[in-house]
Point group: D2
Chain length 137, copies 4
Amino acid sequence: MPLTRFSISVDSKLIERFDTKIKTEKCPTRSKAIGDLIRASLVKDEWKYGEEVAGAIVLLYDHHKRNIVEKITDLQHDYNDNIISTQHIHLDHDNCLEIVAVKGKANRIKEIESVLKSVKGLKHCSLAATSTGKELA
Amino acid sequence: MPLTRFSISVDSKLIERFDTKIKTEKCPTRSKAIGDLIRASLVKDEWKYGEEVAGAIVLLYDHHKRNIVEKITDLQHDYNDNIISTQHIHLDHDNCLEIVAVKGKANRIKEIESVLKSVKGLKHCSLAATSTGKELA
Amino acid sequence: MPLTRFSISVDSKLIERFDTKIKTEKCPTRSKAIGDLIRASLVKDEWKYGEEVAGAIVLLYDHHKRNIVEKITDLQHDYNDNIISTQHIHLDHDNCLEIVAVKGKANRIKEIESVLKSVKGLKHCSLAATSTGKELA
Amino acid sequence: MPLTRFSISVDSKLIERFDTKIKTEKCPTRSKAIGDLIRASLVKDEWKYGEEVAGAIVLLYDHHKRNIVEKITDLQHDYNDNIISTQHIHLDHDNCLEIVAVKGKANRIKEIESVLKSVKGLKHCSLAATSTGKELA
């Protein structure tokens, strides 16, 4: 992909402190670090303005709860246009971590999260919000 | 698991509004809705106080970037005690969504997130923070 | 204000852990703690659904930067329907903390935050989001 | 304050999209926009690593609740080393918005927030986290 090279001016003390931070976090270059900040700000906007996004909905539940596995599976099929795949982890004898990879309009993804969250017996639901990457060179 | 039944008093207008919210979100009962709020507040504390937690780190990258697949795979092996499994999704011709299921002390998980984030060519990194469920009846 | 008393059932281990948390945080009763969680969830919704809200926009700047004080004052006057009052603190010889109390539709408040944030020379801008309290008995 | 001018390379499509965003938000220059992202990331770190910070704690309450004004005032005096000043707004006949300007170690500020939040009768508590600006040129 073509790169654009350009100059910016920032306070000397600020960039000095940012360089220290980058070094601590083992980020290889200023370009990578600033590119990361730019991308993160654009991903936030994709979610804010309801664009096409991707992410992971993480569900935590005890599979002994009556019907919970069927209920969660059924719901996922209702949204099969937006659900790409599911990863199921047996955390211990009781607890399951189920990670649902999703793609679609931001509002639709939030709706799926809300629907899954309302399942009786579900312990916790969490969302990792990212991008489809199409517009995130 | 044994249940505890107890009474609480809240302003009438407040519980009326909360009932409307619950109904809109299709949450079956007040007990489930309040239980969810309690669990979510406890999960926040698990992360805040560095306890044993679980979650998913979501990586977005273009697999054409030089060495990025090897680099990400190598790093994941460095943390194999905390990484349970990985789900890899081909979003399109270029973009990959890689979802890493993780478990361990909260600080360790944040360290893994930070290390993966610093990989050259990685577009975005996002974390879904949840619990191991052990203490989250 | 009239109170409603009602019963809920939650897992015994969960409420035990919540009681410990409440005690640590010196929260006087379960009713207060659960009421707080309910109110916080409703305030989030007020912002999410663009209702009438209140809050504080906090600005950090060096008053030596050319025209910054005039610029910030001018902008605040443009939004005088939503800005209630301003508190100005001299943090040190250079840095000012200016706290703008705001009230209005959530989107309008976010617009004001965005406009103030774009002022040249402004170091940082942060928002404390709360409610007008009218519907938050 | 002295400025440092330097070059970075980012994907052409990315900077194009960022330029559009900047324009929409009326941010005057790329240097300002990138400087803002850098500063925001450093402020987050100041809070994360428990450094000296500043901010505003916003309290919402009904002043008719028994003793609440005295209680809140008393608590603020307990922390007078960290509380700079307070702005009090009468939102309506019942609701007060009280904005407490604070400065000190991040953990201390979070403790003050937690203590104020636990006051009986308080409706909501919110924090705007910013910096003292000393290290944020």
